[in-house]
Symmetry: D2
Subunit: 201 residues, 4 copies
């Protein structure tokens, strides 16, 4: 089983990413369960704006798109800025929009029978909003969202520390992240064993 984790931090490598730090917990649990994990730091790719799968020469998206089609599990990890998913996360979602009209041999949207989860960090309130809206977009594309397939960290009220600056509350975020990995793998296996067929037209 394969997973792609797209870290949507605004910070380019090699700057430390809070979102990556929490994502690593989930990745480790996936690997412990035998999942092959590919990590992508989207900001490093300078993904151009658009809603097609291939915007032509130099477009880094087609390679990400191949990774998505190669993986049963997608995790989108985003920081919270002004209470919203990052511009990098929304860029990824926009480029995925084309997947809505891409179908497999049986006429199913290509995201069918794949599962997705969301990881959020922030220095303020907003995680559930990010989780719900990113999950909602991915579900719209065809991904199944297993129960409790997310984790987050922030420490309010008001602007506070970042994940890497504080140990407070980490236990909850980490154990929720390990449960997330378990739920994603189990749901992906269930759908692999008994796939959702093409919907009636």
């Amino acid at each position: 089983m394969r997973a792609v984790v797209i870290n949507c931090t605004l910070k380019r490598s090699p700057e430390a990413s809070n979102t990556e730090a929490l994502a690593t917990v989930v990745e480790d649990e996936l690997r412990a369960r035998g999942v092959e994990v590919e990590s992508i730091r989207a900001v490093d790719l300078d993904i151009p704006p658009g809603v097609a799968t291939d915007l032509g020469e130099g477009d880094p998206w087609p390679a990400v798109h191949r990774s998505l089609l190669n993986a049963e599990i997608l995790i989108l990890a985003s920081p919270t800025w002004a209470g919203q998913p990052s511009s990098v996360a929304q860029r990824v979602i926009e480029r995925m929009d084309a997947m809505l009209s891409e179908t497999d041999d049986e006429g199913r949207p290509v995201a069918f029978n794949r599962v997705a989860g969301v990881i959020v960090t922030g220095n303020e309130d907003g995680a559930h909003h990010v989780i719900n809206n990113v999950s909602g977009a991915l579900n719209d594309f065809g991904y199944t969202i297993p129960g409790q397939a997310w984790t987050y960290w922030n420490r309010g009220p008001g602007p506070g520390p970042s994940y890497l600056d504080s140990r407070e509350g980490r236990d909850w975020s980490e154990s929720t992240g390990r449960a997330m990995a378990s739920n994603l793998v189990a749901a992906a296996e269930a759908l692999a064993a008994k796939p959702i067929p093409a919907p009636p037209s």
Copy 2:
């Protein structure tokens, strides 16, 4: 297989409900697939506010709660008011909140291995917001949200007709609703065949 459809219209029976009209399309498709469907019009029950499963004598919620635990599929159907899920829908979600800490014999949240979908009608824009937030709450409780497990109808821009007042756009809402039924049943079957285990503690 059993489904519960909770219609969260603000209108008491027997007043015509736009939301019910669209829900009926999905219910018919569920029945055509052999699913036993129970329909609940929540506003008729006068569900009191609170976040416990049983608020005492006269509380109609425990019966709804039993129906939820008896069904592999939950559909929450809501009108859109001021762009938001109805107060009746939010009341249902609040009463479901207690399910977060109810577990089965294997220590799994009781909503695990159940699936949920959302139906929305409105006289204005707001459906995806309602879908994402209702799905997000149900996912938080443990429900799995199969890919494309929703349908909606509204006709913008600005305040427009209600579902029962217009034939425009119904084909899309109805075929999306039938696909929703197909996806819910298939995902419920997959999870029944190969359930998500209790997450690691």
Copy 3:
């Protein structure tokens, strides 16, 4: 100048309300600035569902509606349940929906030249989502939302203490609440001195 504060807790009087506790800070600051403050605990009124201003005999809403029309400042205070505004808050918003089509002598929506702010408490993440969606609905009805006219308290990540259970982070929530009161009063005074005219038809 007059303000109405509607506390949308799920708990009936005289049970202690976390939301009321934070609202009191804002109310005290309003009173210190010479504002007459009316507090309404909506759940005690058993407001029936609907979208008209008067649902007939026994409907407590017309009295609340009169209070709204009598006040230059509205504060809606809500707990966070499943990351959303409470069902009581949404009930209030639904009943206010009729104000969209109520106009004054100059043809302006009755909410014009009134200002609104939002107070949120919770035992988990979700405050900005509640603030944005409640503010958005009130703005839709015609209320002006002054800059930084809100405050909140929660303490994540994950389910945590309630406002009354913890002293952590209160200073920020309280000073933000006092700023909120200042901003609401100043904006209400500016609009009273130089009102927004009826928009072009």
Copy 4:
């Protein structure tokens, strides 16, 4: 009085922008009221990701930031992608985040006594979600949101035409847009005549 309109379409000039087409209606009404209007098509600027006002050599943001500080009125115009504000809109919001800690001579956030509104177009449902979240972020930074300071166009249910492809519903979107211009100008004038003072610390 000056206004800045930031068009957050994903399409580079000179490609036709649906969002620009609706924005033009609002801009014309602003100009008819004597407002000097500057239009910025953000995607053409290739604004780099970050949350500081100046990211160094070649950063186009400082010029936009100067325009913002020079204008009493800000309009953010965004398409809807996957039900969300565009990645370009979120990029603009992220770069504005630094304004939270920039204050004027009297210690007020620099956005104080400025007003903001939102224009949304889309080929599907989602406008109010975009309006509420963009308005919410700008309000967080200190902008006042006058009553009914937005307009939108989409035509559901499901994926439909774009604004430039259809004449349906335009009258509502355009008259709502003219009202938006009127409300923004009036509120900006009221705040100019009687500014909101620095909040208590």
